[in-house]
Point group: C2
Chain length 425, copies 2
């Protein structure tokens, strides 16, 4: 199995100013090729540290990805380290990246300064993948003798170092070209993936439920659990060394009946996207009435491009006066049962459906915390209401997290109930 | 200056399943004591790798923080490595953590299994900081001879390794105890910090505006720029080797007049919290009408505990029918000027203020993208409306980002306009 090291260069990560999201993204992408990331490192803008860290990495791993350290003001440090490390004598100008520098700066109405042109200079021995979203090129260094130092390397071709820009928008855009370059230069195993999205079952319970099936998987098939509070547990099946699609489909045939009440997609997606697709298929519109989730359901639904086709809007009724005056929840219901009740969320869901004229609606009322809980109504309690042309249903759940996490869990479980009711229409 | 290394242990980070946010948080906290983080590393759950990485780190740095690798199912690997590394012969039971294990599991209605009790076992030479939010203790190892290997270490006391749990909620809760432990054992420079929050000016423009002031800062005072799309640019002034509060206040006297139209707090906070404080001081309530921001403003405002005191609610009027039927925007306005217009956001803000009975309100309508733009109304265009008892104002801005980033920018700039209008009341 090919191995990789990912190195992030830049003081801004090291002092905690910026959270490094590139490494996680790059590691997942390498994983789809069956390449195992063995180490992620963040270091500062210091030439000695950069040299030593890269030098060790190209000895230790087949693929080394670096991000950062290539801006117009500080590229000299990292680029000069790369020149030395690659045994390049000097620099050459890359015509492709230079053209892109002109194109990008002219589109922004800016003049091209010498410092900008300098971005297109790369060490002699670098190959270039043009950065289409920024001025710093992606540099590729093929280190032929590195592999000889690693006795167990499967790659007779040596190590390859890819130097990427630090801006995630630019690094991610270059990733397809990098994966293709790896495919072209390394003997990769055939590898197939299948992603299954589940909601409503914890990772440990899911593992227990599918344990027999998992134990019986062919040796070439690996299973990964990827839990997330907003999307549920994502299962990723990977088949190594086989390009017959029937293999994973056979595995899926055993899995589906075991998790059918939790499975919501066989693609890598999320609840708002799946609900949007369902609504479009059925020609329906939706709305939301939110109390404890405070706008999170609406924010999640509208994060999907094109949502205006089915998403009409929402009311965040944080105050009881808004529940009564805008959504039409009756004062008696709130007095008798409280705002966190089956009766209240039912009227909230019905109210917002009537108000917006949507086909279906979802409502939430709960206690996110940290304050406001009582023994009968603890922090973490939430009521969900779903209203469709066939009536209104309500659901009760209890979570035990902090405020931010409770709000996420409340919103996700509400969307899952909504999804299930839409499916049944 | 004391140095630190931060090591994250766990396959879930390395395969890209989870983004490591702990390292960034811990690095910022160490920075407040004047401790410089020199390296962050993520490694998998492999004993050999963990040993080698920790062994190198305690030679290289004064403070080593590890997170992860301590769950009830896999703690044996990391804990056993820590036993060997610290020269401990065996394990001892920590009474304080054992009591906490019982307390936490009983509160969840669970029995205490042997594997849970095992969490309270630590290597002989470990000191324990009780984890109040989880079952795995924070272990402290004082490595006395490590410092002798580092000629330039200012710490005669040697290195200290703190092993923290990986769950951010638990790791962050332990941080105060860890910082106090460092203060008690190391000769720290006197260090003072002052945080200033700005909104509405880019990092580069801010740097230019305050360049003369920055150049004239005393040598012992350092300035850091921490930009964030939701909070604006945070400036952090740090004074090393001085405990006289007059020093930073003197610096602030020069800074305030330069940035007075952008400065919104002299504490480390955010726009929703500052708006909440202002509303409480003035005894006012607020509401929001959101189109393009889709619930993000409401979600941000309700992320603040206790917001029910001043936040009444919002309407997300994604569809024009909701703008008209719920918020009372006139059909003629939308026909004549479009939904993304000064006229429309003014009526949205007035509508939601009337509907909820709030004192002030804010409204957004814009084009987040990726589709929907025209030459006159490009992706990134947003109109903001703010309505108070003294009337309605509208504001126009253009950003050039992707959908997710545009939505964040729209919401933040709307909150900043709302803040300014509340201040003027």
């Amino acid at each position: 199995m090919l191995t990789a090291g990912i190195i992030t260069i830049g003081d801004e990560i090291l002092i905690g100013q910026v959270v490094d999201t590139n490494s996680s993204y790059l590691s997942r992408a390498l994983g789809t090729l069956g390449i195992k990331t063995e180490r992620m490192v963040s270091i500062g803008d210091d030439a000695r540290t950069i040299y030593d860290t890269l030098d060790a990495a190209i000895r230790d791993y087949d693929i080394v990805l670096t991000t950062g350290g290539l801006g117009p003001t500080k590229d000299d440090i990292t680029k000069e380290v790369l020149r030395k490390l690659s045994g390049s004598e000097g620099y050459k100008e890359d015509k492709g990246q230079l053209a892109m520098v002109y194109e990008i700066l002219h589109a922004r109405g800016l003049d091209v300064l010498d410092s900008n042109k300098g971005q297109a200079l790369v060490p002699d021995k670098a190959e270039v993948i043009v950065n289409k979203r920024g001025t710093a090129p992606i540099m590729v260094f093929r280190i032929e003798n590195a592999a000889q130092k690693r006795q167990d390397s499967p790659a007779a071709v040596g190590s390859t170092l890819y130097a990427l820009p630090g801006v995630p928008y630019e690094a991610i855009a270059a990733l397809d070209d990098i994966l293709n370059d790896i495919r072209a230069h390394y003997p990769l195993d055939h590898i197939q993936h299948k992603t299954v999205m589940t909601y409503g079952i914890a990772e440990s319970a899911l593992a227990q439920r599918i344990a027999d099936w998992e134990d019986a998987l062919p040796e070439s098939v690996h299973l990964a659990y990827l839990p997330n509070p907003l999307t549920g547990v994502r299962l990723r099946l990977s088949a190594y060394g086989c390009d017959d699609p029937a293999l994973l489909e056979d595995c899926m045939k055993g899995l589906r009946p075991l998790i059918k009440e939790y499975l919501y997609s066989e693609e890598d997606t999320d609840l708002p996207t799946v609900i949007g697709t369902l609504l479009k298929q059925k020609g329906l519109t939706m709305s939301a009435a939110e109390s404890c989730t405070g706008g999170t359901i609406s924010q999640m639904m509208t994060s999907v491009p094109g949502c205006s086709e089915y998403y009409l809007g929402s009311v965040t009724s944080y105050a009881n006066s808004v529940k009564e005056n805008v959504l039409g929840v009756s004062e008696e219901i709130i007095e008798q049962y409280g705002a966190v009740s089956s009766e209240c969320v039912a009227q909230m869901a019905e109210g917002v459906r009537r108000l917006t004229g949507s086909d279906v609606s979802v409502a939430t009322s709960g206690i996110a915390g940290p304050g406001g809980g009582t023994p009968d109504m603890p922090v973490g309690l939430v009521w969900i209401g779903v209203c469709t042309p066939f009536g209104t249903k309500t659901f009760r759940h209890i979570f035990k997290n902090d405020r931010a996490r409770n709000i996420e869990r409340f919103a996700a479980i509400a969307l899952n109930h909504l999804r299930q009711e839409i499916l049944a229409l």
